[in-house]
Amino acid sequence: MAAITPSEFRKRMARRKWQGRVFHGLCLLAVCIALTMLAVMLIYIVAQGWSRVSWSFITSFPSRHPDRAGIQAALLGSIYLVAIAGVASFVLGVGAAIYLEEYAARSRFARIVQINISNLAGVPSIVYGILGLEVFVRSMDLGKSVLAGGLTLALLILPIIIIAAEEAIRAVPPSLREGAYGLGATRWQAIWHLVLPQAFPGILTGVILAVSRAIGETAPLIAMGALTFVPFAPDGLLSRFTALPIQIFNWTSRPQAGFHEAAAAGIIVLLVALVIMNGAAVIVRNKFQGPNAG
């Protein structure tokens, strides 16, 4: 390597430092652009919809008149869906996680399920809608009901819940189980009385986060046949239904500006629900986890 003169070195050093500063600026700029987009989107939606958010907006049914349209049917539909999906995926997901962690850990079956779950998590949500249509709506003959919709969403969020529950169960120290076995407990007794109570906050956090994903899903519900215009509240598990994101989609696709404002107001309600659920997840995690828990 040819030696360079001190003045040449200083010149190159200055250039490298200058390039570094430009690069630093570029990186910072990228973060700022992303944050700005988020801010612009939220501000735009609040500016469009804030005047329409009112108690009567929440308690009215949809209408052909934009200023009278409300979200009662959609909101109740979403609550039904989230309750069904939450309960079903909680039971299935926690059951699966217990089996994979406590009974079949490091077995071939567990490895296959593990690979399967990571692939399921990448399946487009609309494909789940088609599965729900064929399995729940047609084969099980549940019709295009809120139950079929809730179960479809349960399958969609199942991988998330299994992964969260597995992590929570794995975090329970093995000494706890060994103590229970030493006292003569069976495996199930150790799980039921010791492992699950310890893992519960972690599981609950995962379930809340997964359900908050379900509440925003539109495509699978449309594919499985949810309605877009529903002037009645669901009156049972087999009732036909709509959901908040579908109502927002429907209003967005209409040409009248009045419906766009209603859509923005619906988005505000949806985002508030999401903030509440995520806040609840954070509180559960902080409240139940002791100072020395991971």
Partner: protein, 316 residues
Amino acid sequence: MARDEPIGQQAAAADLRRSFRPKWRKLLPERIARTILLLCSGVSILTTAGIVLVLVFEAFQFFREVSVLEFVTGTKWTPLFASKQFGVLALVAGTTLVAIGAMVVALPLGLLSAIYLSEYAPDPIRRTVKPILEILAGIPTVVYGYFALLFVTPLLRGISEDIAVFNGLSASIVMGIMILPMVSSLSEDAMRAVPRALREGAYALGATKLEVSTGVVIPAALSGIVASFILAASRAIGETMIVTIAAGQNPSFTLNPLVPIETMTAYIVQVSLGDTPTGTLEYKTIFAVALSLFAITLLMNLLSQYVVRRFREEYE
């Protein structure tokens, strides 16, 4: 057992043995619990099997009437018109266009954000900014669709009048913002996993921060970064609501981002919302399209897992 033992001793031994024998009262719940739990974990496998079976079975019905060759090579998609043509490439082109557009936005912004968070940002800023960026991934896609159609599109049309109301450009930009946190978070995780000693070695040789970032950290974290790109692209391909709302319902074999197009996902929504009778050939198209979509995204996910496994740099 010895016959000459006292009776009492025999009884005591039998008692002892009995107390160690597993009791059905204790074992039965054990068996039941185990079986139920096994069934629960079977559901996830059944889900995969269900998806594959449903799509393959229904698509098979479709391909009995339409040749596979026409489906994968045709460039006109008009199943809902009188003169039906089933060239899925028209929908694939729409999907590709939007996914590429989204990656053009998400790749540079996401990678630069990841470098900033991993290499430049002081810890308090990193801990604040990262969760805020991840909010972007938690916002429902219908919200992005609203934003694309009613905010971004009018903005673009203010710049150029050639842009249609429904276009791929607006959907691409907004989808790029949506998948940005996927790129930034996963890439940042990969970069932070690069050992400190590697950076310090480079600094000791007189490298600047730029040279350390691009010459040491990025190559070392490359497998994770590439995997995050592939996952983000796969997410963009499967995304539905943004393109349904903002990109149009006009399948066309074009990569022009200014005109209305239709993606595979948007087509499935269009048929689901329409009044196409079930059982007809028109209706069965959604299964053929969904099968193609499933196959494409599955391949990309497998590819990203392979990249991580095969090209991961281990430092121990």
